[in-house]
Structures are given as structure tokens and as C-alpha cells.
């Protein structure tokens, strides 16, 4: 049964807006031209490919639903054990077990704990209702379903990347009854190996296998793409392919395909290896870090884009009004944003998030699940980040409208008796859109990083929600251990870095394409 969380709905709105804008831009040369220029820049294209992968993961993670509970399931909870089972919700159940066993003191864990309890209680009831399909109260996403293998293969506690044994010593009972302290074998990571010393060869083989699979997938994609291009350009397949190979096409397809190859091979190798190893290790409660990193993508993207969606209307409308009408309107809007931007942003965010937390504890009954709670908190974070960040764009737009108001064509429109609303819609807005575009793209990476910082100081997203900020926050203590547990931090860093780097590179290209001064120079 599909579930649409508030942020999911907003993401869909954003996609609709994006598609609408794309159609609008396609019909307007002044917007299509710069985007075409972006499409012709090798850096821009490569960055776009990387971002598409991220967005794909984020979108998959935004399709939420209550999983179906299979009729055979009810018997399972009673038999709950550490073994891996087949049914989906039971697996999560199993996931919850070691969680409950480990630490309840950890704030991050308390949420998951509760989820597990809920499930337990629920899973017991539907036993009687066999006739109609029943759904779990648990909310998972398509990505969760896809990665259920990763999600379920939990270890007891820390394990290093590609490890076959736990990272900490435990008392192990030998078959002969004696107990020694040592590093026990992992339950899942490398469990298929009889002898852990074969690990290197196994990783290599599986890696190669993944590589081959990735290359096959890439070849299939490439052939389709070239065929489509050749068909559209009315060229023979070979001509097109050789043109791309020599880098003679206007759009740098060669770069795009290389980036695609890199990303596909990486994904397939990772998928292949992740099936039998924890490629980025596990965290304190034994959860796979690779899974966490993938789940964090949605959080980062939502913060980066929804915040913009929230702030845009205010910034655009108020900024243009202030600049165009001037006088009293200008004074009021100026005082508003001067006041707002004088309040320290972090203070405002902390206050809003803390207030929300209090509200949510007092009205716990309004939330059906922890996922919804976390989602509402994420939305609020977006809104409050939006409230603190619209002033910059507003100021820019006010200045630009102030200039445009005196432009000859606006004067001409006024002398032709065009109404103010039409003047704004027809003459001012299209001429400030490039500023909006540049700001949105530039702000994106800043917001992704801001989430990490805010979560680190505990006023970011909900602790139960996967995010790079939370990963870094929990890695804080792990770094103090000896030997050091570095993989959580490193994974969060690598994933965030890749996204932000790609976004920044794209932002540079977009800015160059849209900046009228640079355009006139070239």
C-alpha cells in the first residue's frame, strides 16, 4: 500500500515544476541557449551523470509504501531467532533483535528500537485475518526493498570494510566447550568463505564479475543511445559511433559515456561485493554503512532542493515587488529582510527545531510512525533553512528589478498602458530568472553541507533518519576508539563529497552559461 509522506509529495511537486520549467525553457531561446551550453560543457555533462545517479537513488528512496504481510508470516515471530528468514517484515524483525540487545542508551538507536517493538506487537495480530491482504505499519521505500539484503544482514557491532571477523574481541565458545577471547566470524560478511584467508581471491573474482556485468550494462546502454542518436541525426550507426569516439559531437557524448561507464562499473562492482561483504564495514550496532550512506542520499537531496522550493516564492515575489514598486513597499520589505538576516541563522534553526521536538513529544498520538515524525522534522528543517536563506536572493532580485524598472523596454511598456502585474510577469521576471537559476544551483551544495553541520550539533534531521550529518555525528565517538573506527566518517565524506563536488562543478558551468557578462565576452 503506497504511502506518500509530506516530503515525498513536495518532491513530486518539485519534479512537476522542473518538468514544467523544462517545457517552458525548451520553447524560449534565452533559456534553452544557456542550458544547451551547459550540455556542451564536458565538466557539466560529467557532473550531470553523477548527479543523475544520486537523484535516481533519492527518487527510489522517495517511493514509500507499507509492505504486504504474507499470510504465512504470523507464525514466524514466535520462532524469532537470529537466523535469516524469507519474509520481509520478519527480516526487519530480525534486524531489530540485535539492536535491542545492544545499547539502549544510544539516542540513535532508541528510535529503531521503538520501531521494532511496534512491529512485534503488530505482527502478532494479523494472524486471524488471513482472507484479505494485510499491510505492515512499517513504512519502507522501494530502495529499502531493493537493498533488503543489505538492510537485513546485520552484525553484532563494528566490523571493518570487507572484514570476515568482528572488530572487537568477544568470548567465543569453541566446539570443545572451552571459551577463548578472540575475533568471532561475522554472521554475514564473508560467511560463505570456509577459510577467511581466501578473501583476497574471492574479492578479486567477485569484483571482476561485477566489472564485467557493469561493462555489459554499459555497452547495452551505449548501443541504445548511439542508435537513438543515429536515428535522430539520420546517420548510420557506425558514423555516429565513430564521431562520438573521436569526440566530434557537439554534446560531449564521449565524456558522458565515460562518466556513465565509471559510475555503472562502480555500482555493479559495489553491488556484487555488497552481496557477500560489508564493503564499507558496519557501525556500532552492526548496521551496514554502505546502506546508511545510500539512504542518506535522499536526506541530502531533499534538504538541498526542498529548501529552495520553500524560499523561492518569498524571495522572488518580495524581491521583485520591492524593486519594481519602490517607495513604501520597498521600505517594508527591506526592513523585513534586514531584520530577518540580523538574527543568527543557527539560533533560529535551533529554536524552531527544539520547539518542534517539544510539540512532537506532547502530541505523539498524531504520528503513526517514527518515519512520519522524522519526515515532519526534515520538512521543518527545510522550511526554517528556507526562511533564513531567502534574504540573499531577495536582495539580489530587488537590486536587479530596481535596475530593470528604469530599463527602456519597461518604460515603453508603461507608456503602452501595460498593467504592473503584466509588466512584472512579462518583462521583469524573465529577465531575473538567470539570477534565480544561478542562486538555486549554487545554494544546493551549501545546503547539503549545512545539513551535515546542523545534524552534527543535533539540531538537524531526526536522529533516526539516515543522513550524512548523523553518520558524522555518531562517528565522532568512534574516532576516539583505539584502533580507530574510520569507515563511517570516510563513507559519509566520500558520498557527500562526490555529490557536492558534482553540484559545484555543475553550478560553475550553469553560472558561466547564464551570466550575461560572461556570455557577451565569449
Amino acid at each position: 500500500m503506497p504511502v506518500i509522506l509530506i516530503t515525498d509529495a513536495l518532491i513530486f511537486v518539485l519534479i512537476a515544476v522542473g518538468i514544467g520549467f523544462g517545457l517552458y525553457a525548451a520553447r524560449h531561446e534565452h533559456l534553452r541557449g544557456p542550458w544547451r551550453q551547459v550540455g556542451r560543457s564536458p565538466v557539466g555533462v560529467a557532473a550531470l551523470v553523477v548527479i543523475v545517479f544520486y537523484v535516481g537513488v533519492g527518487l527510489l528512496d522517495s517511493l514509500h509504501f507499507h509492505p504486504l504481510i504474507e499470510p504465512v508470516a504470523p507464525a514466524a515471530p514466535a520462532a524469532s531467532s537470529a537466523q535469516a528468514d524469507q519474509s520481509a517484515d520478519e527480516k526487519t524483525d530480525a534486524v531489530a533483535q540485535p539492536v535491542a540487545a545492544t545499547s539502549t542508551s544510544d539516542q540513535a538507536m532508541s528510535g529503531q528500537d521503538a520501531t521494532a517493538d511496534e512491529q512485534d506487537s503488530f505482527a502478532a495480530t494479523p494472524a486471524s485475518v488471513l482472507a484479505e491482504p494485510t499491510y505492515s505499519t512499517q513504512i519502507i521505500s522501494v530502495l529499502d526493498l531493493w537493498l533488503s539484503g543489505l538492510r537485513e544482514r546485520q552484525e553484532k557491532t563494528f566490523s571493518a570494510p570487507f572484514a570476515t571477523q568482528l572488530f572487537v574481541k568477544e568470548a567465543i565458545e569453541q566446539p570443545d566447550g572451552s571459551v577463548i577471547r578472540g575475533y568471532p566470524r561475522l554472521e554475514h560478511g564473508g560467511a560463505h568463505l570456509d577459510d577467511p584467508s581466501q578473501r583476497g581471491v574471492d574479492i578479486l573474482l567477485r569484483g571482476l564479475f561485477g566489472l564485467v556485468k557493469g561493462l555489459i550494462a554499459w555497452t547495452a546502454l551505449m548501443v541504445t543511445l548511439i542508435a537513438v542518436l543515429a536515428w535522430r541525426g539520420r546517420q548510420s550507426f557506425n558514423d555516429r559511433a565513430s564521431a562520438i569516439w573521436r569526440g566530434e559531437t557537439e554534446t560531449p557524448w564521449r565524456v558522458a559515456l565515460s562518466a556513465l561507464a565509471l559510475m555503472l562499473v562502480l555500482s555493479f562492482v559495489a553491488a556484487e561485493l555488497a552481496a557477500s561483504y560489508h564493503i564499507l564495514g558496519t557501525d556500532k550496532v552492526g548496521e551496514d554503512v554502505f546502506y546508511q550512506s545510500l539512504k542518506s542520499i535522499r536526506t541530502g537531496l531533499v534538504i538541498g532542493t526542498l529548501t529552495t522550493l520553500v524560499m523561492l516564492p518569498a524571495a522572488v515575489i518580495l524581491g521583485i515587488m520591492a524593486g519594481y514598486f519602490g517607495g513604501r513597499t520597498d521600505d517594508v520589505i527591506q526592513y523585513l529582510y534586514t531584520t530577518l538576516s540580523s538574527i543568527p541563522g543557527v539560533l533560529l534553526i535551533a529554536a524552531a527545531i527544539l520547539m518542534l521536538q517539544v510539540y512532537m513529544t506532547n502530541n505523539a498520538e498524531q504520528f503513526q510512525s517514527l518515519v512520519e515524525r522524522a519526515d515532519l522534522r526534515l520538512l521543518f528543517l527545510c522550511i526554517i533553512l528556507g526562511v533564513t536563506s531567502w534574504t540573499g536572493l531577495c536582495r539580489l532580485l530587488r537590486g536587479e528589478s530596481l535596475k530593470l524598472r528604469e530599463a527602456d523596454y519597461v518604460q515603453a511598456a508603461r507608456s503602452l498602458g501595460v498593467r504592473s502585474s503584466t509588466v512584472i510577469g512579462r518583462h521583469i521576471l524573465p529577465n531575473v530568472l538567470h539570477i534565480v537559476m544561478i542562486t538555486v544551483v549554487l545554494d544546493f551544495s551549501g545546503l547539503v553541507l549545512a545539513e551535515a553541520v546542523l545534524s552534527y550539533v543535533n539540531i538537524g534531521v531526526d536522529p533516526t533518519m539516515n543522513s550524512w550529518g548523523n553518520m558524522i555525528n555518531s562517528a565522532r565517538l568512534e574516532l576516539a576508539r583505539d584502533p580507530v573506527v574510520w569507515w563511517s566518517l570516510a563513507a559519509a565524506f566520500v558520498f557527500m563529497f562526490t555529490l557536492v563536488l558534482a553540484a559545484n562543478l555543475l553550478a560553475d558551468v550553469v553560472r558561466d552559461a547564464f551570466d550575461p557578462r560572461l556570455r557577451s565576452a565569449s
Binding site: 534565452h30 527602456d408 518604460q411 511598456a413 503602452l416 498602458g417 501595460v418 512579462r426
Partner: protein, 713 residues
């Protein structure tokens, strides 16, 4: 010749990528003698400025010099290292630029900026440097130089800044000064000051000047020799006297003919069809061939060699290939060609007058007659137009005021007013053109905007057909929007770059609901575009695809769309080249004849006024100082300001030149106008009484009046 200072030969420079380079100058060659002024003349896009930058080796990053040689004395500049070249720049060769506002660093005192230039070329002690700075400032005619050296650029006026730029250029005692449109951004009176200064300095120091300009008048008054540049090539080189007597290249001739003047007012101006070709293509043969009226098949075949019609004049044109006789014939037919359009367009009875006038004028010129005679010739032409000028008053302003409050402090209290327009009385008759003339900053544009209520008048009346537009409510104004329209100065800024031409022109139809239905609207827009000579296929294109002149036509179509009675033309041609200006002026004139439009023509260009206007009002610091019919004001100016303004206009024809009345200083700020007559601090004829009260208008004839105490009737 030993006195040749700069010898350029076969200089070729390219911009952009090497596959499709833009050849900004292609085989350019000329030489300049010591103490001589060579003018490089041409329309925009012909590569004049790029040639200058190539000489200085200051091409933009994407540019490179592809070949040729530049010899300054005995030094080959193109083979110098960058380090040696730095010594040459500013030392032996200096350059001044068009825009004095942007050529000075706004955060440094002007004295420091000049001192920097001084120190770069001479090792002097600190005190000596300061002395030299003051000396330089004095040399360029800046009063109180010691104080001015300590001021920032924003405290100086445009003319002063250009002087400072010249002072900086002089700091290294250059042998050659390259002046790239040094006066284009300045007003005529200031332009006269700067040109005079350049000439004086040249006489003192004996330096050579390469003057780059598009203004034929400036060339005629300042230069010794000139080179005409077209599409990256020099097409004619001659001494100034020889050139203005008989330009040899068809392009030069057309250029001269397209300059508007009083004597041409009954006919159409000569125009050059088409535009300067883009320079990123390979040329074979003559580059002007596509626009030339006397083109021959041979013109397109091979590169054109130099021919010498006279000693000291050379030209790249095949008309001269067979010797001068061949050309004389061509010239005669060309001369007839220019009269023909005026015959066909003018009324039969006036055409005779025009012909006679042209004939008398030609004679006067030929015999080197005095200015009086020439004027006598042009006077009948003007008086012939006067009778048709009787019409009823369409628009009249009375005591029109536009004051902008100056607000200071936290609570924005008003501390004063900028009196941009301070009591203007104008009267515009139906079907006529009233020219509003004045220097920049005198408030003439504000008058135009106030009439259309784009600026809200703060006082006075704007009576249009008996209704006072200044006092009606904003909603009621919509009814009159249809009748009053405006055309702006800058054709690049006056159209929304994001809209299709069809939508731009149709905007008024849509907003005022004049044509119902999209199809009817599009038909009307197509007809309008046809009317201004653009063609309906322009509808689905964007403004940036058009050249300046074409854009101005589209702007005219937009204004015409609502079938106005009056169009305020705010310097519609000052951003355009001479030949394009001629096209636009012809169009405006034709539309006036066809549609009976009235124009309020705001301009600073006296030659345009003489060509187009029926009546003239001269504005100074927010007030009209003199008004009357075009003939009265332009031929018999009575107000000292009008006299100074007219005298400062550079004339191509030596016979028409007047003794330049030099005005001291600049126009005062309209925020604090001088007491009494606003003009008295600069007036050469001022008396003590001038500072007491603002003079009342003195009626000189039925139509002519001026506000000056010194006029006795």
C-alpha cells in the same frame, strides 16, 4: 621621408579561434609624420579601435597579430619583448579612451593616478613628481590644478576626467598619441574644449596624433590627413582638404552624403543599403561591393589595388582603374543620384525650390563663398517649409516642473530637490516636429517622460487636446496612452531580449485592447513591420538577431502600433552610425508625411535638428532659454548659450565654421542652480544684473523668443 614617425604596413590581426578567425584588421597600412594628425574614420564594427589596440599590442586575450610590421621611428614594435613594449606604451606611444568615466580608477585620487604614470617613465623625487603632476594638469587646462590633484574622479565632470586622461597620456612625453573616440561621450561644448586642447598640445609638443572617430565634423576640424576604414581594411587615404573636396571611394561619398544638414531637409538623405559585413569570412574583391551603387563585375573578382586619383590621395576602388576621367563621370552620376530621391519624394512645387537651393549651395561651396552666402542659399529652403507648418496646437506644456526630492538620513527626510525640469513651456503643433536641444543633464529626457507621465510632474500643466495630463488620475491616463508614444535612445536596451519581435510590437495592441483576437493582432503587427521596412518574417525572431538600425525600426513599429498622434523621440539616432541614422531619419520623415505625426524630438545633435525640425527649443538646466522656428534659432541665435552651442558643433564645411565661443567650466548641478540666470556663471556676455533675477522671455518675432537680459529688441 625622415620625418615619418610611425609606419604601419600590412598589419593583420585576428580575434577568436583559429578555424574561423575574425580579421579585425586586414593588411592595414599607413604612416604618420611628426606633428601630424591622422584621423582613422569609419563606422562601428570596421575595426578602428582594434587597429589602435594592435598598434599598442594590447589586443584582448583571444586576439593575435597575424602579420605585418609597425615601425615607430626605427623600432619594430612587433618584435619587441613584452617588457620592452611596456616601456614604449605610455612612453613613446600613449593612448586615451572613449569613456573617461571608466578609464579612471574611482578609489584613487587623480593626482596619484597621474603620478603613477609619471613615475613609470621618469625617476623623480617625490616632490618633483608632485610638481610634474600639477604641471601636467595645468597643461591640460584644469583650473586650480593643485587642489584638483587631491580629488577623486567622481568629483570631476566628464570633460575634466577626459582632461585628466590626457594628462596621464602626456606624462611620458609621448611621440604619438592615439585618441580612440576621445570626445564621443562628451557634449558638444566640452568636445570643442577637448579638441582645442589636443590641438594646442600638439602645437606645443610636436607629437603626432592618431585620432579614431566616426564623426566627420571632428575629422574636418582636427585632422591633417585621414584614412577611411571599412570592414577591416583601409579603403581611402587622403589629406583632409582633398577628401572633403572630392571623396574618391563610393563609401566615403555616401558617408558624406548621409550626414543630415539644413540644406538637405526637403529630400531624403542618402543611405547605404545593408550593413558592414561580419569580419569572420574570407573576402575576395572589394568589401563594399554588396552595398555599392556603382558595383561592377570586376569588383568582386580580385583584391582591389591602390589607385591614385590625386597626389596625396589614394583609394582602393576600381572606378579609378582607368584614370580620373572615368571617375568624374561616375561622380556626376552619383551627384544626380542624390538629388533624384528628393525629387521623387518632395512636392512638385517645393522640389523646384530644393533644386535651386541645392544648386546655389553647390555653387557657393565651389567658389569657396563665405558662410553668409551659404546661409542665404539655405534660407529659402527653410522658409519654403514654414507655410505648411501652420496647424493647431496638439500639445502644450505650461510651467512644467519635475523635481526629484533628495532624501538623507535615517528617516529619509527631504533635504532638497533636484530641479530636473523647472518651468518648461512648450507648444507642439499637429503634424510638426519640435526639437528639444540641450546638453546631457539639462533635463530634456525628463521633459519627454513627464509628458508621457513616466515621471510624475510635480507642477505645471501638460495640455493635450485641452486635457491636463499632469493632473488626471493614473487610471484615466490609460485612455491617452494610445495617442502619446515614445522611442528611446538605445535600441539595444529598449526591447525585452526575452520576447519575440512580434510580441514586442503587439504589446500595445494587446494591453490597450485595440485588436481583438490573435490572428487580427498578428496581421496588424505584420503590416506594421512592413511599414517600417523590416518585413513580417521578423515576427518570430528575437531582438538580438537584428542590428541597431533594424532594432530602432522595430521600436518605431511598436510605437506606431497604437496609432499615436505624438511620438516623443528621445535621441533615437545618437547610438547609431551616420549611414544608419540617415535611414532612421528618412523613415521618421516619411511617416510624418504619411500619417501626420507630431514629433517631440529630443537631441543634442544640431545637424539632425537642422534636417528634421520645424521648431526648436533650446534647454539649459531645466529651463528653455530660447525657442523659435528652426531657421530663426539655428541661423540667428540670440541667447549666448545657443550661440556657444552652435559654434561648438564641428562642421565639415570650412565655410560654415564659426568662431568657437569657448564656455568655461561645466553645467552646474540642477540641485543647486545658480541665482538669477542659470547660465551667467559661464556666460561670456554676463553682466552684474544677470545674477539677480531669472530673465523674462524677450519676444523677438511672432515665433522667436529668448530669455536673456542682454537682448535688446
Amino acid at each position: 621621408m625622415s620625418d615619418v614617425l610611425l609606419h604601419v604596413s600590412n598589419l593583420t590581426a585576428e580575434l577568436g579561434n583559429s578555424e574561423r578567425p575574425v580579421r579585425v584588421c586586414d593588411g592595414v597600412g599607413f604612416s604618420i609624420r611628426r606633428g601630424e594628425t591622422l584621423a582613422l574614420l569609419g563606422e562601428s564594427g570596421c575595426g578602428k579601435s582594434m587597429t589602435a589596440l594592435t598598434l599598442m599590442r594590447l589586443l584582448p586575450l583571444s586576439g593575435r597579430i597575424a602579420g605585418g610590421s609597425v615601425q615607430l621611428d626605427d623600432t619594430e614594435l612587433l618584435s619587441l619583448t613584452e617588457r620592452e613594449m611596456r616601456g614604449v606604451r605610455g612612453g613613446r606611444m600613449a593612448m586615451i579612451f572613449q569613456e573617461p568615466q571608466t578609464s579612471l580608477n574611482p578609489v584613487l585620487k587623480v593626482g596619484d593616478q597621474i603620478a603613477e604614470a609619471v613615475r613609470l617613465h621618469k625617476r623623480l623625487a617625490k616632490a618633483e613628481v608632485a610638481e610634474r603632476v600639477v604641471e601636467l594638469l595645468r597643461a591640460v587646462g584644469i583650473p586650480d590644478p593643485a587642489r584638483r590633484a587631491g580629488e577623486f574622479p567622481h568629483q570631476l565632470s566628464g570633460g575634466m576626467k577626459q582632461r585628466v586622461m590626457i594628462a596621464m597620456a602626456l606624462a611620458g612625453d609621448p611621440e604619438l598619441l592615439i585618441a580612440d573616440e576621445p570626445t564621443t561621450a562628451l557634449d558638444v561644448t566640452i568636445q570643442a574644449q577637448v579638441l582645442q586642447l589636443l590641438k594646442g598640445l600638439q602645437a606645443q609638443t610636436g607629437m603626432a596624433v592618431l585620432l579614431i572617430t566616426h564623426d566627420l565634423g571632428v575629422v574636418a576640424e582636427t585632422a591633417d590627413r585621414l584614412a577611411v576604414m571599412y570592414a577591416g581594411q583601409i579603403v581611402e587615404e587622403a589629406s583632409v582638404d582633398a577628401f572633403f573636396a572630392a571623396p574618391a571611394h563610393p563609401y566615403s561619398r555616401k558617408l558624406l552624403e548621409s550626414v543630415p544638414s539644413a540644406s538637405k531637409r526637403r529630400g531624403e538623405l542618402a543611405v547605404i543599403p545593408g550593413r558592414v559585413p561580419p569580419l569572420d569570412q574570407p573576402f575576395s574583391g572589394c568589401r563594399f561591393a554588396d552595398r555599392c551603387s556603382q558595383v561592377m563585375p570586376a569588383c568582386r573578382e580580385a583584391p582591389i589595388a591602390w589607385f591614385q586619383p590625386n597626389p596625396g590621395q589614394q583609394v582602393r576602388c576600381l572606378l579609378w582603374a582607368e584614370g580620373p576621367a572615368q571617375f568624374r563621370e561616375g561622380e556626376a552620376s552619383a551627384a544626380v543620384g542624390t538629388v533624384e530621391p528628393s525629387l521623387s519624394s518632395a512636392q512638385p512645387e517645393t522640389a523646384a525650390v530644393e533644386l535651386a537651393a541645392a544648386g546655389v549651395k553647390a555653387q557657393a561651396e565651389a567658389s569657396g563663398a563665405t558662410r553668409l552666402e551659404a546661409k542665404a542659399a539655405s534660407a529659402p529652403a527653410r522658409s519654403a517649409t514654414a507655410p505648411t507648418a501652420e496647424g493647431q496646437t496638439l500639445l502644450a506644456t505650461a510651467g512644467l516642473q519635475v523635481h526629484f526630492p533628495i532624501q538623507r538620513g535615517l528617516f529619509r527626510s527631504t533635504v532638497g530637490h533636484v530641479k530636473a525640469v523647472d518651468g518648461v513651456d512648450l507648444c507642439l503643433k499637429a503634424g510638426q516636429t519640435l526639437a528639444l536641444v540641450g546638453e546631457s543633464g539639462c533635463g530634456k529626457t525628463t521633459v519627454g517622460k513627464a509628458i508621457l507621465r513616466l515621471e510624475l510632474p510635480t507642477g505645471g500643466q501638460v495640455r493635450y487636446n485641452g486635457v491636463d495630463l499632469a493632473s488626471i488620475r493614473a487610471g484615466q491616463m490609460r485612455r491617452y496612452r494610445k495617442d502619446l508614444q515614445i522611442i528611446f535612445q538605445d535600441p539595444f536596451a529598449s526591447m525585452n531580449p526575452r520576447m519575440l519581435v512580434g510580441d514586442i510590437v503587439g504589446e500595445g495592441l494587446q494591453s490597450l485592447g485595440l485588436e481583438k483576437g490573435r490572428a487580427a493582432q498578428r496581421r496588424r503587427v505584420a503590416a506594421l513591420l512592413e511599414q517600417v521596412g523590416i518585413g513580417e518574417q521578423a515576427m518570430n525572431r528575437y531582438p538580438h538577431e537584428f542590428s541597431g538600425g533594424q532594432r530602432q525600426r522595430i521600436c518605431i513599429a511598436r510605437a506606431l502600433a497604437v496609432e499615436p498622434k505624438l511620438i516623443v523621440c528621445d535621441e533615437p539616432t545618437s547610438a547609431l552610425d551616420v549611414s544608419v541614422q540617415a535611414q532612421i531619419l528618412n523613415l521618421l520623415k516619411r511617416l510624418q508625411d504619411d500619417l501626420g505625426l507630431s514629433y517631440l524630438f529630443i537631441t543634442h545633435d544640431i545637424s539632425v535638428v537642422a534636417y528634421l525640425a520645424h521648431e526648436v527649443a533650446v534647454m539649459y538646466l531645466g529651463r528653455i532659454v530660447e525657442q523659435g522656428t528652426a531657421a530663426e534659432v539655428l541661423d540667428e541665435p540670440r541667447h549666448p548659450y545657443t550661440q556657444a552651442l552652435l559654434s561648438a558643433v564641428p562642421m565639415m564645411d570650412k565655410a560654415e565654421r564659426r568662431q568657437i565661443i569657448r564656455l568655461e567650466g561645466d553645467m552646474p548641478s540642477p540641485a543647486a542652480p545658480p541665482t538669477g540666470c542659470h547660465f551667467h556663471p559661464r556666460c561670456p556676455q554676463a553682466i552684474a544684473d544677470c545674477a539677480l533675477t531669472y530673465p523674462q522671455p524677450v519676444q523677438l518675432s511672432k515665433t522667436h523668443s529668448a530669455r536673456c537680459l542682454r537682448i535688446e529688441t
